[in-house]
């Protein structure tokens, strides 16, 4: 029986993976279009307004922009498949887009992760409570609260909480990822090992130095995890304080959606025959809900959590702008402003890839929780 289920899931996953190919091809085509339909000339963007027409023409030739469009398209797809998007023209001149993305992506993912953790830990209990005590005061407050939560734009609530908690009350820092006196060095690249006894002296800050211990693990680029790996508690606390407001703001948004879905899913499950049967057999109300209700009610919630994670990644553009966090969201906005096309292409493709993979993960989890979906 079990092996049959496993066989089905393998086929299901394989089918989902195959379906991914046309989608990713389409995504690549759209991202290719970003460069080729945009009004500006990349060569002109790189060289600036003062460059002569000859220089621009030479660079166009060098970049392969004079090749037939289908050759450029195939070349782009081939390079994109290897995650190569060339060098950043403007914002990170001289660095490859790939290295910039490796550097900045963990920042965005970390923020989304904490937001999601807050959303789940608050949203699920509130949704259950709301459903179990349907039409009570708790239920109404939760529902109105949830609807308000998704209606308030982050770029309004964010600045307001900064004003309240950072400026007036002075409990938390206003922006950034870590305290100014705690130094984040360029050598702090994700996925790198630090040599034994590595130490970095700071000529201008008197503050504590983060990178002072050897790590056995490669760093992740996520401040809260790296400071733990480096066992620098002061830096860890500082990083946590910096993350609290932004992740709370996006967490509340996510909580709103999760609690709504949890509530309606729970309400539906409670009415099922097997719940009545369990009660009829003499099982207590609480145990029935915990044992039979929750597991089944969780299924649609998993979908929402997955989709929500993707939305949080997208919302990073706004959150990072408001809270001054240098992830790939804010980088994309800057790249569009200065027409740094390579960077735009790489970032947009990364977002789409992440979003698609999260959705794939959701589908697979879903199929495990509810094997009927595979048929």
């Amino acid at each position: 029986m079990r092996s049959y289920a496993q066989m089905v899931s393998k086929r299901f996953i394989l089918k989902r993976l195959l379906l991914l190919i046309p989608v990713l091809l389409g995504v690549g085509t759209l991202v290719f279009a970003v460069l080729h339909l945009s009004p500006g000339d990349p060569a002109r963007v790189i060289l600036g307004q003062r460059a002569s027409a000859q220089e621009v023409a030479d660079l166009r030739e060098g970049l392969g922009l004079n090749d037939p469009i289908w050759i450029q398209y195939l070349r782009f797809l081939w390079e994109a498949a290897q995650f190569e998007f060339g060098e950043s023209y403007k914002i990170f001149q001289g660095q490859t887009v790939k290295s910039v993305l490796v550097d900045k992506l963990p920042v965005t993912i970390e923020l989304a992760l904490y937001g999601q953790i807050i959303g789940i830990t608050l949203g699920i209990p509130l949704g259950i409570l709301s459903a179990v005590k349907q039409d009570s005061v708790v239920d109404h407050v939760t529902r109105i609260g949830a609807l308000t939560g998704i209606s308030v734009p982050i770029f309004w609530s964010g600045p307001l909480v900064i004003l309240l908690f950072a400026t007036y009350l002075d409990w938390l820092p206003t922006s950034g990822r870590i305290g100014a006196t705690i130094f984040l060095d360029d050598t702090w690249m994700p996925f790198t090992f630090l040599p034994e006894g590595f130490s970095q002296q700071l000529p201008w800050f008197g503050g504590p130095v983060v990178i002072s211990k050897a790590t056995e693990w490669p760093l992740t680029g996520m401040v809260t995890i790296d400071t733990l790996l480096l066992q620098n508690w002061e830096a860890f606390i500082s990083a946590g304080q910096h993350l609290l407001l932004p992740s709370a703001v996006i967490g509340i948004y996510s909580m709103a959606l999760i609690s709504r879905m949890m509530r309606s899913s729970m309400l539906e499950v409670v009415r099922q025959d097997y719940m009545r049967t369990a009660r009829a057999k003499g099982q207590g109300a609480k145990i029935t809900i915990m044992k039979h209700g929750l597991r089944n009610a969780f299924i649609p919630v998993v979908t929402v959590i997955g989709i929500q994670f993707g939305t949080l990644l997208g919302g990073a553009v706004l959150t990072e702008t408001v809270f001054g966090i240098g992830g790939i969201g804010v980088m994309l906005v800057n790249a569009i402003e200065v027409s740094d096309y390579n960077l735009v292409q790489g970032t947009v493709l990364t977002f789409a890839l992440l979003f698609t993979l999260v959705n794939l993960g959701v589908d697979i989890t879903y199929s495990y929780l509810d094997p009927r979906i595979q048929q």
């Binding site: 389409g26 309004w156 539906e268 735009v344 979003f355």
Partner: protein
Amino acid sequence: MSTQTESVETTSRDLVDRLRASPFLSSLLANRLALTGLGIILLMVLIAVYARLFIAGPFGPGLESIISSQLGSAPDKIAPGWTRGEPLTYFFGTDGQARDIYPRVLYGAWLALKFGTITVGASTALGVSLGIVAAYYSDVVDNTIMRTMDVLLAFPSLLLALALVAIFGSGLWKAVIALTLVYTPRFARVVRGAALKVLEDEYIDATVALGAQDPRVLARHVLPNCLAPITVQSTLNFGLAIIDLAALSFLGFGAQAGTPSWGLMLSNGVENGLLNGIWWWSFFPGLFLAITVLGFNLLGDGMRDALDPRMREAVD
């Protein structure tokens, strides 16, 4: 005379009966939250029309008065009058160019509702047409349309909007086009699903057997039976469209400088005002934005519950 009153009475009684008979409308009307949402939307529509006619229109000082700088003729950066005990002057304060914020925020309602309506209207029209066509013509057409929609759905919505803005350039109208393309797939999906169900019904076979042409079948028989999910999706999307339009303006890709759009006022207030303690530049536009979106979400949520028979049971 009496017959007229009678007929009015009959029609109103008819209407009430019809409302009662429709489980969708009666459960919607019984939903206080949905009615509150409807109330908020109507209020915002009134504000928008008022602002269009009596502030920026023929009966007021004109659009120029809330767009151009008033430096020299009015005090700049002063707090709302009521915080200083003068409730009647500068109700929402003035901005850095000495413009009165109150009429600007009211006019923002006009801009939000106008561009929101265009965005939602266009994506509904496009998505519904694509969805119905995909459902009706199977295989090649269906696959082509829906796989294209899948690609658009592979991006987080604001990200896709930004990528499209990178192609089109910035501006309110271009933001509208970008968001229209972003929302279209959602409508296409919902409508395709609903239409596939309708197409299984026997009356469709009957209509086709009677010799009706494809466009007639789609427009007269399939579309009307998909209206309910379309309406819910449009209402929920309205709130989203207003937020996303404001977000694009906030990021600097929407409304041009000086335009009294909520997103732009917010971005100016956050960037230049907040840290100097000037909270009113961003507070009021944000408040109006949040309330408007809440209105659409309350109504849309109520509609969805009313459409879902399981939820209706829960209300009983």
